[in-house]
């Protein structure tokens, strides 16, 4: 049984400008289940954004396929909504019109009033109500703009929502509030989400699973770390959870050391090259309770 979204042997090569080729990543394969929130972590240059663009249909891979819900992804589609880092709101439209623009594209049969109601409802879900929705994006703060962008994406009920470092340009406090908004709206919608981030704490707060990429070039998705912290999560409570720092340390170690060590290893022909599943759970009964090391259960799938 294939996962809902299946990325199979994705390879991206670019000409390196000196007559040769630069392999950004090779044979990347992983899956995302329906309703799952998957975050991809990795250093700049490992090709996260390229993977995102391929999933969005905005870029073509050199080889490999992306299959979603039994169909190969080809070109951009309303089934895959994207929230870009720089919000990508149309500055000449009001906040409301930026959302209705998307809703009208998604549901061309809807009446104008229905489109407006739907858009207003989703703007309210991210905390934008009243006069604010008639302002132009230039009159909104960065955080509010990203809320509009999130509302636009969720309002379209895409089969897959792609978030490309959505909070990268925001200050830490605003980022926290909008992460909460995102968790809230995601909890209500059972939306499948694939997100890029640089922020480890953000990844743990939001994700069901974190994919770790080795450094580029020739990057690969090395590990898939399950976040064994129950939902609903809350930023102040999760840090108290016994698994939090165990997972966090594992991620820090990977990004700090192992992403370099594992980098540039050419893939072995014939290997599936799927990421190693890592499950860290200190709440599970352990054979050796004295063991201070996080329980590492590596399963090669």
């Amino acid at each position: 049984m294939k996962p809902y979204l299946s990325i199979e042997k994705l390879t991206q090569r670019f000409p390196d400008g000196a007559g040769g080729e630069l392999t950004v990543f090779e044979d990347a394969s992983f899956g995302v289940e329906k309703g799952e929130f998957v975050v991809i972590l990795g250093h700049s240059g490992c090709g996260k954004s390229t993977i995102m663009n391929i999933l969005a249909g905005l870029a073509e891979p050199t080889s490999g396929v992306v299959v979603m819900d039994g169909q190969a992804v080809r070109g951009p589609s309303l089934d895959r909504g994207v929230v870009f880092q720089n919000y990508s709101l149309l500055p000449w439209l009001t906040t409301l019109k930026n959302v209705t623009f998307g809703v009208a594209a998604r549901y061309p049969d809807w009446s104008k009033a229905k489109v407006i109601d739907h858009a207003t409802e989703f703007l309210a879900m991210v905390g934008l109500e009243g006069d604010v929705i008639h302002r132009k994006p230039s009159q909104l703060s960065g955080g509010m703009r990203q809320r509009v962008s999130i509302a636009r994406a969720f309002a379209n009920h895409p089969k897959l929502l792609l978030l490309d470092e959505p909070f990268g340009a925001l200050d830490a406090l605003t980022r926290g509030t909008i992460q909460d908004e995102l968790l809230k709206i995601w909890g209500q919608m059972e939306q499948t989400v694939f997100m890029i981030t640089h922020d480890i704490d953000e990844a743990i707060l939001l994700a069901d699973r974190i994919l770790l990429m080795t450094n580029g070039p020739q990057a690969r998705v090395a590990e898939s770390v399950e976040i064994t912290i129950p939902r609903p999560r809350n930023r102040t409570e999760i840090v108290e959870h016994p698994n939090y720092y165990a997972i966090r340390n594992h991620l820090v170690q990977f990004l700090g050391k192992r992403s370099k060590e594992l980098a540039g290893q050419p893939t072995i022909a014939g290997e599936t090259n799927r990421p190693e599943t890592v499950r860290i759970d200190k709440t599970e009964p352990q054979d050796d309770p004295e063991d201070t090391q996080p329980a590492l259960v590596a399963v090669n799938s």
């Binding site: 969005a56 905005l58 070109g75 951009p76 500055p91 998307g102 132009k136 230039s138």
Partner: protein, 277 residues
């Protein structure tokens, strides 16, 4: 003075400069001696004849009052009101200009969408653009064979370039993100062009249109001096031939006023389509 706003103070200063300027101009024109004060000799040598000097502003104002109180009179081919003359000029400018916009904006759009087309057309645009529009006049007169249509053609050819270049530039510079928004929302080519690219490029396009209307109004005066018959340019030249400098100065001022009105109309349009990022 402290209570006056910046605009009020500026307006006051403008009026002051106008009054001082007009007074200096008035004072600089030597008064003509009255006929009775002339000696017999002066009268015989014709020194008492009204000399065609630069008229003082009071005369120009009187002329303006006379002309503007009846702008649309028509007393034969060489004697029409200022309103009729300006009307002819505006008609020619707008006809040539609209034809140019109809060609330049869609064509500029296509060039802007394609890098190949942009590079391929660039050398032609660069050679044709610096040609003085009046240089086309002999060719236009020969090929078209009609002076009226030739004047419109000259307006067409001079207003096409800023609009073409600005449209292509504006369309080519539309942010990739906005195009990606259109793509991820599955908008078709036509819909993307009208709902994303056109509004995104509109400020640049309207800037081109504003430059073009300015150039067109500059050129129409010269073109009408050449083709003759009607229009504000012909009027200026005709009054020069009549040695009526009062009318010449009055019509120069009218050219300025109409040019300013045309420009501010596009200024309003520009303000409407401009957006803040």
């Amino acid at each position: 003075m402290g209570q006056l706003s910046l605009n009020q103070r500026a307006a006051l200063l403008s009026v002051l400069m106008l009054i001082v300027g007009l007074l200096l101009w008035e004072a600089a024109i030597p008064a003509q001696k009255a006929v009775e004060e002339l000696t017999e000799y002066e009268r015989l040598t014709g020194a008492g004849e009204a000399k065609a000097g630069v008229p003082p502003p009071s005369q120009v104002l009187a002329k303006a009052w006379e002309q503007l109180s009846d702008p649309f009179y028509d007393a034969g081919p060489n004697d029409k009101g200022i309103g009729i003359q300006i009307g002819y000029s505006i008609y020619r400018v707008l006809t040539g200009y609209l034809l140019a916009a109809l060609v330049a904006i869609p064509f500029g759009f296509l060039i802007g969408m394609s890098q190949v087309a942009c590079k391929a057309f660039n050398p032609f645009i660069q050679v044709l653009r610096p040609i003085s529009p009046l240089a086309w006049m002999p060719l236009a007169l020969f090929i078209i064979g009609d002076s009226e249509a030739s004047a419109i053609f000259v307006i067409f050819i001079c207003s096409i370039w800023p609009m073409l270049i600005n449209t292509a530039f504006g369309v080519a510079g539309v942010r990739e993100d906005w195009v990606n928004v259109a793509r991820t929302h599955e908008l078709g080519a036509i819909k993307t062009a009208f709902t994303v690219i056109l509004p995104a490029a509109a400020p640049t396009i309207v800037t081109g249109m504003r430059i073009s209307i300015g150039i067109a109004w500059l050129v129409i005066v010269a073109a009408e001096m050449l083709v003759g018959g009607t229009g504000i340019g012909y009027y200026v030249w005709n009054e020069w031939n009549n040695l009526d400098l009062t009318s010449v100065i009055f019509s120069i001022l009218m050219i300025g006023v109409v040019g300013m009105l045309l420009d501010s109309a596009f200024g309003l349009l520009q303000r409407r389509v401009t957006y803040a990022e």
